[in-house]
Subunit: 330 residues, 4 copies
């Protein structure tokens, strides 16, 4: 880290700062500029020490040099991670598509959807049995009954399952029924939950928080990785901005940014990213163009009857057409 002294820092303040860095086990080197003295400190840069240094007399600011995440970084693991789930490989350059309804509602709904996903060339069936909803009066999901429906439909169609878990106590139960465990945007910084899924032997899809920076997102991934689970898939789903024509602003530049910073695979969710069905196909194609490893798309046999997020769900036929345009289904 770089410790920048105030323009009016005294010689003794500078000496004291050097002394403290030394006591904390840092190497240091002092640079006398025209308007400021800066001290480069070499060694392990925990945020604790940066906060400490800010308190010392004469210190103006402290600039970190190293990234705060380690296991998630490309420096730690230069080659891209490929995550294998049964016969599906995520992150090996081939597009993987997970599709399904926002909420698991009925056996028939799931059966029809699973057939459509399979027929269109998708690999994973999505659907929520536990729904975090803004309003306590909205439908909150069918729980275990929902898990059984999605598992059953996926098995029949020969698809993998992805479904969300929203609280630590449900992790084992959800893990029984799903191939990939999803952590939703609202829970990206629910650290109890992250630690719990970090102990699973199953891949975890970690959605970006509503207004999370890419660094915070990678730090959340680090929570899972540091518990021993190295199979983390990131999923960009739009961030909060001032623009109101879309539900969120899908940050597609996050994909190449992440590809440079981390070895983890990256999905894109154009459904939550826009909130509007008519924008989904264009943004799905753009996500592929930008290098996403996979797509997470909301589809429904009858969006007008959906118990949740109908307006952003594609009809099964539109989904098939999109998959054709993406090069599946010749």
């Amino acid at each position: 880290m770089i410790v920048v002294m105030k323009p009016d820092a005294t010689q003794s303040q500078i000496a004291a700062t050097e002394q403290k860095l030394k006591q904390l086990g840092f190497g240091y080197q002092t640079i006398v500029g025209e308007q400021r003295v800066v001290i480069g400190a070499t060694g392990d840069q925990r945020d604790k020490v940066m906060s400490l240094a800010l308190e010392w007399d004469g210190v103006e600011k402290v600039v970190p040099i190293l990234q705060p995440y380690k296991l998630a970084s490309r420096e730690f693991r230069p080659e891209s991670s490929v995550i294998k789930v049964k016969d599906v490989a995520i992150g090996n350059g081939e597009l993987v598509v997970a599709a399904g309804p926002c909420a698991v509602e009925t056996d028939e709904q799931m059966r029809k959807t699973a057939a459509a996903v399979k027929a269109a060339g998708g690999q994973i069936l999505r659907g929520g049995a536990y729904k975090p909803r803004t309003s306590p009066y909205s439908f909150q999901g069918y729980g275990v009954a929902g898990l059984k429906m999605i598992k059953h439909a996926a098995d029949d169609a020969g698809l993998l399952v992805i479904t969300e878990v929203v609280e630590p106590n449900d992790v084992e139960t959800v893990a029984e029924y799903t191939d990939i465990v999803q952590i939703g945007a609202r829970n990206m910084q629910n650290y109890s939950l992250l630690k719990k899924v970090g102990k699973l032997h199953q891949p975890v899809m970690l959605k970006r928080g509503l207004a999370s920076t890419i660094e915070e997102w990678l730090m959340a991934a680090e929570y899972i990785l540091s518990e021993g689970n190295s199979d983390v898939i990131l999923c960009e789903r739009g961030i909060r901005t001032y623009e109101t024509t879309t539900r969120n602003t899908l940050d597609l530049s996050a994909v190449p940014v992440l590809k440079a910073l981390t070895h983890l695979p990256v999905f894109v969710d154009p459904s939550h990213g826009t909130g509007k069905r008519h924008l989904v196909p264009a943004m799905a194609k753009a996500a592929v163009a930008v290098g996403a490893d996979g797509l997470l798309i909301e589809i429904h046999p009858n969006p007008a009857e959906a118990l949740s997020d109908g307006p952003q769900s594609l009809e099964l036929e539109s989904f098939a057409m999109l998959m054709r345009q993406l090069g599946y289904l010749h």
Copy 2:
């Protein structure tokens, strides 16, 4: 709600829309404008129905008229709620001050801090035993040992306790040691946790989410209220913006906005709201000027040694001076 038809909607689409509203139990009235037909639907406006209506042929958009929260609204309860915790009343027009360190560290730290809070005229001791931290490598709090330290120090000094709970399984334990249970910004939409504290017979302080709208915040309060706990205190702690000179942007206008929309009391946290010690006194005074019912302030006997958030913690003397300026301690 108002259903706005597309400019080219046909007569039969309009008739079908009216028919569907009727079937769903709505009253309706149709207004023929120069460029659009709009249909006013009267009845209970669940978000489910608004989504449904968006799917109907010829419908352009659906505009809600009523607020989605009920128990939290001033319409439901016109007079301001006053929350009594032992001998302290929150929301009755007198400023209440909670102060203490970000993290509970030692008995001595808590004892010194409690004495300073009491001496300065504060009523509540704050301090975290469970710390949600961005990095898995940062200090995460001392758990039950920390709860005991804060409880002991507060009892000795004659102060109330406020401390944070971060996961549903800890709710009962935390509740044993604290007078007010705090839900942090990262957990504002952790619905399992909200439901759990909604069953307590203790006040809950609900901090605003990192990038939450005021409506989402009141909906989170509604989760607690709808479980039966009517003692919810809101706490503004800054929102995420593009500005980088402060850690967050403290949205003081949220206080008078909330005073118009809800009967619940409102605190302000100028420490997290700014992230910088030298900004805290000015923003604390502004919070009082704008009508806050209370302040939540980070203080530490030795910020340079704090295990968390040192840079935004006031020293005990600066806190005493601020309290004097706020009219405590003559």
Copy 3:
């Protein structure tokens, strides 16, 4: 517009509101809901009247139904506008590429760049002679000398010219040397400038403001259109968010959103949109996938020597490779 009365509005306040709407020339229809009375007013909805109505006793809020822009809307002109500039057509389904340096620096720089643009299949040479810079101490462009350089280089290579104008007094001069006049992000709401270019008989490219909503952007286009110039091209160039890994957040969903709202063609600028060279190719491809009519790309024969925006400029070879990947240059 819809006038929503307060829950406690009296019969006489409702009657007075109806009376005032009538006096202002509106038709109206009153809907009595369970919790609110709403009045639908039909007629011309100027923002003036909406503000007025907000002042009336008993009125809670006023909801607009119609969009505030007219000439820019798809309702006004359902078919997409195709803008012809000499032999280049913009908006007819074929991708148009404008490329060049941020700032015009030397004849040689422009000659080399123009040759590279032409060879790669591009149609338009970009380059700034008037540079709006955040710092007064940064290079501000060569003015007329710069205009001559870009015009000369483009003519030699058989390319069109696009260049920015930053103040009303320069509009005629700039227009002499350029085929398309560019209004930069910082000037999107410089209404004197918009009115001036609205009187030109040349196409205008209007970049989205730094933090402009799509509605504000279309209102800015309306300023130009309402002066008589119907050849407006919109250009998405990233919006301001809290994320810091990119200079701006490129809002690619703006392209399909605009395609639904307006008949005007839409370009995307992945260079300013990201601020980092290594992100430009991926985002350029995504822009094409999402349906952009054209790209505006910064390139430079030697970015390391660029007087402005070097870090986001592609080298000429990387540009040629990108064009090949986009299907130009077989």
Copy 4:
């Protein structure tokens, strides 16, 4: 500035970087850390050189140490600037209040308003003769006729005048009629306009741009200062965020932040900052509590008839009451 080398930078890349810094006239010092080499460069840090250095082989990032503004900084001028306009001093610790309508409409309106401002203890009459409006169809101000009305009303009442200028060609004209020239939020980065008012011998009030950082704002002030006009007053008026209950989010922490960074006086505009009349008094009091040098408040004898911004204008009586609460008018 600090040049951070990539983790895999070679010795020869490091040597080449040192060589280039030397050639550019920088002193430098190289620090070898465990994971990175960083090079501290001392000398004048123009943004040009930082961009250049980013291009060198093996360089990962470049971190600025010095602020990019000079004349506006407290380092340049440690004591606070006091700006004297006739008998009013701005920045000397006493609150100055400017009030008036958004738009100058009639002689009578201005006369009534001026009398109310004077009677309440205000010092400056505000009112716009040139109005930058989002819609080309909205009222744009009466121009010179408006300037005459406000000047006349202010002279009669013994008040100073502040009014906005929106284009370079009008600067001299506006300056004739006003004591303080206002640059509005939309024009904060209209550099032609800034340079023009930088040549005036009159104070300039520079409002913060809609989504400007504090650094960009000070850079805009630097444009005016560097032209020779040292009398710049900053005015916080709210920034754009995702929150929709207020028109903007008033960033009151900007006041103490600016007080630390710059010697220039700071006003606050609670009217544009909130967009709602009922929030203005609370935010005005908070602005005073936080240390603002002055307030800019919209008032109108009859807000329901205002041609612009009626909903955020205080009635004359409410203004008088606010002034009483602020300690004027005993």
